[in-house]
Amino acid sequence: MDSQLNKDNTILISPVTRIEGHAKITIDLNADGTVKDARFHVNEFRGFEKFCEGRYFTEMPSITPRICGICPVSHSVSSAKACEMIMGIKPTYTGDLLRRLIHLGQMISSHALSFFHLSSPDFILGWDSDPALRNIVGIAQASPDLALRGIRLRKFGQEISERITGKKIHIMGIVPGGMGSVLTEENRKALLGWITEATDTTLMGIEIIKKYHEQNKEMVNSFANFPTLYLGTVGPEGEMELYDGKLRFIDQDGKILQDQIDPKNYLDYIAERSIDWSYLKYPYYKPYGYGNGFYRVGPLARLNVASKMKTPKAQKEFLNFKSINGNKPVHGTFYFHYARLIEMLGSIEEAERILHDPKITSTDIQALGSHNYNEGIGSSEAPRGTLFHHYKTDENGKLTMVNLLIATGQNNPAMNQSVFEVAKQYVRGKDVKEGALNRVEAAIRCYDPCLSCSTHAIGAMPMIIEIKDHEGETVHVLKRG
């Protein structure tokens, strides 16, 4: 991480480290050295929505996994669901089950990466430790067994994809109507062989984070703790759902604002606004309007909105999570890590249940159909939060409109608020230490943003970022990294 103090009292951290993608943070100081403002800038630009226009709609489940190497399954699943709406078909039982299994594998793989590789170095090695070793290399030196477990847990998640589709990253094989590849009995048994180790490793991670919470209560509770609304997917009884379900919004006190909303109606509840200093848009809960309607998605949000978990071990931890704030939403951003581990535990349990389903090795994996409607919307919970794919086609099935509402985009307002809150807490004046800046970055890492997929506000953004003072005057211009 490079940081510099500009002449205009602006601290620039660029690039933000240990997140997927590249970004920049600016911190504006008052004359007395206190933090006036802090912002999280996204510098990447992809434009998938535009260049997918004109493609035949059934190509999308194969194109969209290329958006991201961390959450390709969620893109492919949401895309296939949108295509199925256009075709007017449903996937077969086994096709749907296989997709659910691969989706869980991705959740495990992504969450393991986030916790063991990218975030745990901060609280295992120390916020102020040598930044050159504050990573998986440092963990490998300090705790080789933990590093090995983290690597293998991620490998397990990827192996689920690989044993079904033949690929562990940018997977192919998820198709409208189900799947294009089967799970063999040999591969089913091989995946079941991982369950005990994966469960043990996740429980080890939970113990680490709970111990850290216990020993650092004040820090954990004060770390970017601010109220927002929350959005997540739930099942019919309010249980946390990752692959398929209905939407639930809650307010900052836990009151259910909307429940069992069909994701196809997402535009009735979510609006977006472009802002002039980032490629990420600012989504908000439409009924409350811009400014009052900021909400969060992802692990913390999913556990906040859910009434229960689907599996016993995860349910036990869920009850502990709910007790943190007396059954009201947990707003502390640091609790994203705990929520992520609980989700990973539930994902492993559910994967085991699916692997024991006798129909998981069936070859009835795909329903067939053709172009019947001109619009389709698909949704799933990506590791970082709720994901929507929305397509419109012409009469020949060629795409005329593609809208991708990505989790990291939905967390954008909250990430900015988090950076501001932590900067206010840890940055004092010009003599700022690297460890303090690392804490500011860590606020972003809690959300585990995957920026490459969420930057798609084509044509709306300037190519230069301007830094403005409290009166709105431009005081510095940053070149994009």
Binding site: A132, L133, D145, I151
Partner: protein, 161 residues
């Protein structure tokens, strides 16, 4: 609770692994996979070929199955064509899973698995990394030289068709 060593026992295949790294849809970045494909087409005994977009830490276990590894990758800077052994690095500027250096992989293999990775890196300087599937003509020429260089190196080690 430590992981049972038997569970993660790594079989030794006593083979050479060639890993072509890069994105074939970013012009010269695809030279690694191009070279890997060329070598695979020669059908050398005991030589396994992978093509990957990037090196991932979870690939370590499978890499440890091989006695020697040759990584082939496009380079932005440096010599036009380079072929050299790589050593470990005690520190890493690891920023995300998208950025894992060869030196870091070697260090991790020692820290976690207590094993040495014997890696050579063949780098080919590219000139265009824009979107596209065409490798620049001068880079293609160097790619042919790299194929010869790697094959000669393997034959010196006793690898035959």
């Amino acid at each position: 609770m430590s992981l049972n060593e038997d569970k993660i026992k790594i079989p030794s295949k006593a083979e050479t692994l060639i890993i072509g790294i890069g994105n074939p849809l970013r012009c010269d970045d695809g030279v690694g996979s191009y070279i890997a494909d060329c070598i695979e087409s020669k059908g050398l005994k005991g030589v396994k070929v992978w093509v990957v977009h990037q090196l991932n830490v979870e690939d370590l276990e499978r890499m440890l199955e091989y006695n020697r590894i040759i990584l082939v990758d496009a380079a932005i800077d440096g010599p036009l064509l380079d072929f050299r052994p790589v050593g470990k690095s005690e520190k890493s500027a690891l920023a995300s899973s998208h950025h894992l250096s060869v030196e870091t992989l070697i260090s991790l293999a020692q820290s976690i698995y207590h094993k040495d990775l014997h890696i050579h890196l063949c780098s080919i300087k590219g000139s265009s990394f824009e979107v596209g599937d065409k490798i620049s003509p001068d880079v293609l020429e160097r790619a042919q030289e790299a194929v010869e260089l790697i094959c000669c190196s393997l034959m010196n080690l006793g690898v035959r068709n």
